[in-house]
């Protein structure tokens, strides 16, 4: 497989007031890879995700998607004085780029959330159908007067197919929040897939799952990667899951990237053991 770059995070710093949540983060994700981002609690993993998906504009740095710059910022306004990160002047002079999350999703980056965020009053099927709204060609008039019947039928068909893939067809018309936890996680992934992404960001997909469910999820993530030609970038705490399916792993501690490599390299990296796995050995 040729190494086609999908996501590149360059010198990204995210500072809230005086707290640096992500400190000069650099990482790359190539096409078809499964990359994991690990680190102790509060290391800034989810903040990094929020920067990539446009929830926060970074304080400094840039993000590239398929070689194209999608996000860029430099310390401005109050932050000019407050900024304590690295490369303070590297991006000045460039125009700040801060697209909203929906624009990022439209580019082909979909995500799931750490604490499940399904549409509560909607059924399983409708949850997936809503995500199909993004790739519509209809406007509000054609949609109201049902001139988009063909597209609507196609949306429904594709949503049914996704239901089949995640094995939720039998609970199709149940309220999304009435599903067991593991299935809600699967539904959230299916919903993200419905936006037709090329890069999928999973924020702790196995959180709260038992070993059996985690095993199933591992298999599931591998399967959707192959089936949809996805690139997957995920945050995860279950080490067996991470070690098994990751092509490469980034380790974050106090907002800083402290190591990068395949599972073997990470397992034997002394800095990682000290920051992360070391705590467990001391007990």
């Amino acid at each position: 497989m040729s190494k086609e770059n999908v996501l590149k995070v360059e010198n990204v710093t995210m500072q809230f007031g005086g707290v640096i949540a992500v400190d000069n983060l650099n990482l790359e994700v190539n096409k078809g890879e499964i990359i994991s981002l690990i680190g102790p609690n509060g290391a800034g993993k989810t903040t990094a995700f929020n920067v990539i998906t446009g929830v926060y504009a970074p304080t400094n740095g840039a993000v590239y998607y398929k070689g194209k710059k999608i996000i860029e910022n430099h310390p401005q306004g109050k932050m000019k004085k407050l900024y304590r990160g690295e490369n303070p002047v590297m991006y000045t002079g460039h125009k700040a780029l801060a697209p909203t999350p929906d624009k990022i999703t439209a580019l082909g980056i979909a995500r799931t959330f750490q604490n499940i965020r399904l549409f509560k009053s909607q059924t399983v099927f409708e949850n997936i159908l809503i995500a199909k709204h993004l790739r519509r060609t209809s406007n509000v008039f054609t949609a109201t007067f049902r001139l988009n019947a063909k597209e609507e039928a196609r949306m429904r068909e594709e949503a049914e197919e996704l239901l089949k893939i995640v094995d939720l067809t039998d609970v199709r018309d149940e309220l999304a929040t009435s599903l067991p936890y593991g299935k809600q996680r699967h539904l959230e992934i299916a919903r993200a897939l419905a936006t037709q992404p090329e890069l999928l960001l999973l924020d702790e997909p196995a959180a709260g799952m038992n070993p059996q469910e985690t095993l199933e999820l591992t298999e599931f993530i591998g399967r959707i990667r192959d089936e949809f030609g996805l690139t997957i970038f995920m945050i995860e705490h279950h080490m067996d899951l991470v070690m098994e399916i990751s092509d490469r792993i980034y380790v974050l501690d106090f907002g800083k990237s402290i190591a990068e490599g395949n599972s073997e390299e990470i397992r034997s990296n002394p800095r990682v053991i000290e920051a992360y796995l070391g705590g467990a050995q001391d007990e």
């Binding site: 999703t105 965020r117 549409f119 909607q122 995500a131 109201t144 988009n148 949306m155 919903r191």
Partner: protein, 362 residues
């Protein structure tokens, strides 16, 4: 096929309702209280559904409805007063500046469009706010509009704080029903389209909706403008119903009445808003009137606590009871349907049968 029978059933029901109204109109004098309630009920049903689109389906708590109705009512009135009676209506302003009039349906649509344009402009800054703050901002807007329309300098256009009158009014009770029916039908079509699903997604979880590629600003603006458009049309209808209008009519109390209808009917239920509207209007204007009679006797017993205004006490108590016992409104977020009624009775009936069957078994 099942869907088809449903549609046929619904169309049949609506046709039967209109026919019933038509027959009633032939046999009962048109000054009857029944028609007052039906007309006003239909108009309030439309504005309640338009408010529900915003508050119930998109999750935007807006209280600007009276302001948008005022815009619709004034646009309608200003554009339809016949040229020959303009001199007497605008007697302090030399007959006003508009010297033409347009057909009623066009004027109603124009009222909607004016309200929608204002909504678009107000929405730009205001829709960045959330929940209570949005409510206060829109409420403020409605009050400002009301004050501006009473301003003397705008007299040639709005007739200042004087009445607007002599514009065309309802010929038949069917008119508000047909107009409101078409508008509510359009809103239902919108709600069931892909845009309606996006609105509901925003209501349920803004962050997730945005992550699924739904442009929040655009969709909120869209819901706000569409809701205001229909509020404007209902304002025009209200002007037709009232026969005269004045800006001071459109107080914030009017918005609260509509909000009450939405809440009682069920937030997120179109049929709930319609049912709630007719019940509300009937109770507040008609059914409880007898309570205002201070000379009411049961046998020889004089009900001495009855006096003018007493119906309002009873009415408030009823609303409190509804809110207490039907916490999600009469309909919750479900919709009224023939199927639903059948299932409801079927369930009751089956339960009874099961109980009887059980007892005979012993």
């Amino acid at each position: 096929m099942k869907k088809q029978t449903k549609t046929i059933l619904n169309v049949g029901l609506i046709a039967a309702l209109l026919l019933l109204l038509f027959i009633l109109e032939q046999i009962i004098p048109s000054s009857s209280m029944l028609f007052m309630v039906l007309k006003k009920g239909a108009i309030y049903a439309l504005v309640a559904v338009s408010m529900n689109l915003l508050n119930g389906f998109t999750g935007l708590f807006s209280l600007g409805q009276a302001g948008f109705m005022l815009l619709g009512a004034y646009t309608y009135a200003i554009l339809t007063i016949p040229v020959e009676s303009r001199d007497s209506v605008y007697q302090y302003f030399d007959g006003g500046i508009i010297q033409f009039s347009i057909p009623v349906p066009l004027a109603l649509i124009a009222g909607g469009i004016v309200a929608a344009v204002f909504a678009f402009l107000i929405g730009l800054p205001v829709l960045r706010l959330k929940s209570d703050y949005l409510a206060i901002a829109t409420l403020g807007f409605a009050e400002i509009i009301r004050a501006v329309f009473q301003w003397d300098k705008l007299g040639p256009l709005t007739n200042g704080s004087n009445l607007l009158r002599n514009f065309p009014t309802f010929q038949s009770v069917l008119y508000p029903f047909i107009v409101a029916g078409i508008c509510i039908g359009l809103i239902v079509l919108l709600i069931n389209s892909t845009y309606g699903r996006a609105f509901k997604a925003i209501r349920d979880d803004e962050i997730a909706a945005e992550a699924m590629g739904i442009n929040l600003a655009h969709h909120k603006q869209l819901a706000f403008v569409i809701s205001s458009f229909f509020a404007g049309i209902s304002g025009g209808l209200l002007a037709m119903y009232q026969t005269t209008i004045q800006a001071s009519m459109f107080k914030s109390a009017m918005t609260y009445e509509i909000l009450l209808i939405v809440v009682i009917g069920g937030i997120g239920s179109v049929t709930g808003s319609c049912i709630g509207s007719f019940l509300f209007i009937a109770c507040s204007e008609w059914w409880l009137r007898f309570l205002d009679n201070s000379n009411l006797y049961i046998g020889d017993f004089h009900l001495s606590f009855m006096r003018p205004g007493f119906r309002k006490v009873v009415f408030s108590l009823m609303i409190m009871a509804i809110v207490l016992f039907y916490r999600k409104g009469l309909m919750g977020d479900r919709e009224f349907s023939v199927e639903g009624v059948r299932r409801f009775f079927q369930k009751r009936f089956k339960k009874k049968q099961a109980v009887e069957g059980g007892s005979s078994h012993e």
